[in-house]
């Protein structure tokens, strides 16, 4: 659908509500991401950022609102259209989610096996090229269990970009990594955007990483968007919630005495 592909935004989220059972996780989330932009979704634990990501990936179905990726509405897409769309998306999960029964190289090549008719040799070469990009060329024959945390994240990134996607999603790239490995991964994300001009969505709670790579930042708090703006604007925001996130201050929510008593006694 060339007309739809030319839509202004790579990602459009409109009035998204999401629930887990009875509990509402996302409240009226609206968000647009330009083509070729690096959007960082930032928020503390429990802010709903992982849930938002799962919706963007089409893994969960929203209770209200719509998500449009590359001009295609996820809710209206047929199975076949979804299959086509997935060819243009790459996802690097927080824990890597590499398949434990396959070597690193087999992991990286898997999307090619499933989506293309290339012969095995070509696929292996393409797989190695991507491993080269993430500096894992000589580790292709290892099993995921033999890799360090940073290597797993890079291998997952190699698998995410093997189809040369238009959209790349990255969940917590620097979580659990030492500072050097985290910086290297940030550099890698910036290099990727430069080389392939992909739209990248990064979900993270690491401030340094967010400020370094982001074009724009969306701050999520308790399932609602506090602001979406440039790095500078977020830094200079006077919203107390954002400031407490930036300055690592504890939340000082006012305690309702009656409600507190009720919670304790369970009555």
């Amino acid at each position: 659908m060339p007309a739809a592909e030319n839509s202004e935004y790579a990602i459009e989220v409109q009035h998204l509500d999401a629930h887990y059972g009875e509990r509402q996780i996302l409240h009226d989330v609206s968000l647009n991401v330009h083509h070729g932009e690096i959007m960082v979704i930032m928020g503390g634990s429990g802010s709903g950022k992982s849930t938002l990501l799962r919706h963007l990936l089409g893994l969960n179905i929203p209770t209200r609102g719509s998500i449009t990726l590359l001009g295609q509405d996820l809710a209206r897409n047929s199975e076949a259209e979804m299959f086509e769309l997935r060819r243009k998306m790459g996802v690097a999960f927080q824990g890597g989610a590499l398949f434990g029964s396959m070597t690193v190289e087999e992991n990286v090549v898997l999307p090619l096996c499933e989506h293309t008719e290339l012969d095995e040799k070509t696929m292996r070469i393409m797989g190695r090229m991507k491993l080269e990009v993430v500096n894992l060329a000589e580790f292709g024959d290892l099993m995921p269990s033999e890799l360090s945390g940073g290597m797993i994240k890079r291998a997952a990134l190699a698998r995410a970009i093997v189809m040369d996607p238009r959209l790349l999603f990255f969940d917590e790239p620097s979580a659990g990594l030492d500072p050097v490995a985290a910086v290297e991964l940030d550099e890698l994300i910036l290099r990727l955007r430069q080389a392939m001009n992909i739209t990248i969505v990064v979900v993270t709670h690491e401030l340094e990483s967010a400020f370094k790579i982001a074009d724009r930042i969306t701050v999520l708090d308790q399932g609602a968007i506090l602001m979406t703006d440039s790095v500078e604007a977020v830094r200079n925001s006077d919203n107390p919630r954002i400031q407490s996130l930036l300055n690592r201050l504890p939340r000082d929510d006012a305690i309702d005495a009656d409600e507190y008593l009720e919670r304790l006694t369970g009555i």
Binding site: G21, E22, R54, L57, G58, L59, A80, M82, F83, R86, R87, M89, V91, F93, Q94, G95, A97, L98, F99, G100, L110, P111, E114, H115
Partner: protein
């Protein structure tokens, strides 16, 4: 499956009724889930090629190796032992009537109709069923299933369908092996006790057996194969709550498989003999 908190103010008797209701709904929900999984697997096996998303032969072979080929030694040993045991018991019992030589008929029929498919299925449920549940559960917990879905690989096509087919190939094949090893075990004891040669023993077995005896066993083994595959996969996909959840699901998977196998065996035996 989310269970809303029970109403604490309810009368105990009413709460009991509520509990039964909840469990019934959960059981029906699970049955529906298993049925849709079976339908989806069959869909991918038949129409996958047309959708450009075939069930890979490589996956089917890998699963058949794990479930079937690697189980050959253990199945052989156990069925051989069962054969010997039946010969010992049979000869002991029939001695009182002076009809020891009739033991061969007993061994031949009970091994092919009952013991081979049952023992093979119990072994596979314990060996592979538990492993399948644990593997899928762990994949779910480590987001590997999510990764499959975002790559555009339907888990039913990639995991369930090859497993189902591999199970349907492996268990009947292992049952044939079990038939032979069980008969051989019985024979080994009979040549000592009844002073006959192995050739004569097998000749008498062949005379005692008809095609229906063997086909009865094979039909059962196909049903058992479907039970093990569906129960172990569905339990794997329902894992919640980390390592403990995986452990719980694995136990549940084996217990459920064994229970269903024995019950279905009873039903099949009745209908195959009297209907």
């Amino acid at each position: 499956m989310s269970h809303a908190a029970q109403n604490p103010g309810l009368h105990p008797a009413l709460r009991f009724v509520e509990d039964i209701g909840r469990k019934t709904v959960a059981a029906i929900e699970e049955l529906g889930y298993v049925a849709s999984m079976l339908a989806e697997s069959c869909y991918w096996l038949i129409f996958g090629h047309r959708q450009q998303q075939p069930v890979r032969l490589r996956n089917i072979i890998a699963e058949t190796m794990r479930i079937g080929v690697h189980a050959i030694p253990i199945i052989s040993i156990i069925c051989l032992a069962i054969g010997v045991m039946m010969a010992i018991q049979g000869i002991q019992t029939l001695k009182t009537f002076g009809a020891e030589s009739k033991v061969i008929v007993g061994i031949a029929i009970s091994i092919t109709r009952e013991f081979a498919p049952l023992i093979v299925s119990i072994m596979v449920a314990g060996r592979s069923g538990s492993a399948i549940t644990a593997r899928i559960g762990t994949m779910l917990e480590s987001q590997e299933i999510d990764a499959l879905r975002v790559i555009g690989i339907n888990p039913a096509r990639y995991i369930t369908a090859p497993l189902l087919l591999a199970m349907m190939i492996s268990i009947p094949a292992l049952t044939v092996l079990g038939d032979f090893m069980g008969l051989l075990g019985g024979g080994l004891y009979c040549i000592i006790e009844l002073k006959i040669t192995l050739a004569i023993y097998f000749e008498r077995c062949a005379a005692a057996l008809s095609w229906t005896d063997i086909s009865q066993g094979l039909i059962k083994s196909l049903a058992f194969a479907a039970i093990i595959a569906l129960v172990s996969v569905s339990n794997g996909f329902q894992v919640r709550g980390g390592a403990e959840g995986v452990g719980r699901a694995t136990t549940r998977s084996v217990v459920m498989s064994l229970t269903f196998i024995v019950i279905v065996d009873m039903i099949f035996t009745y209908f195959l003999n009297f209907a």
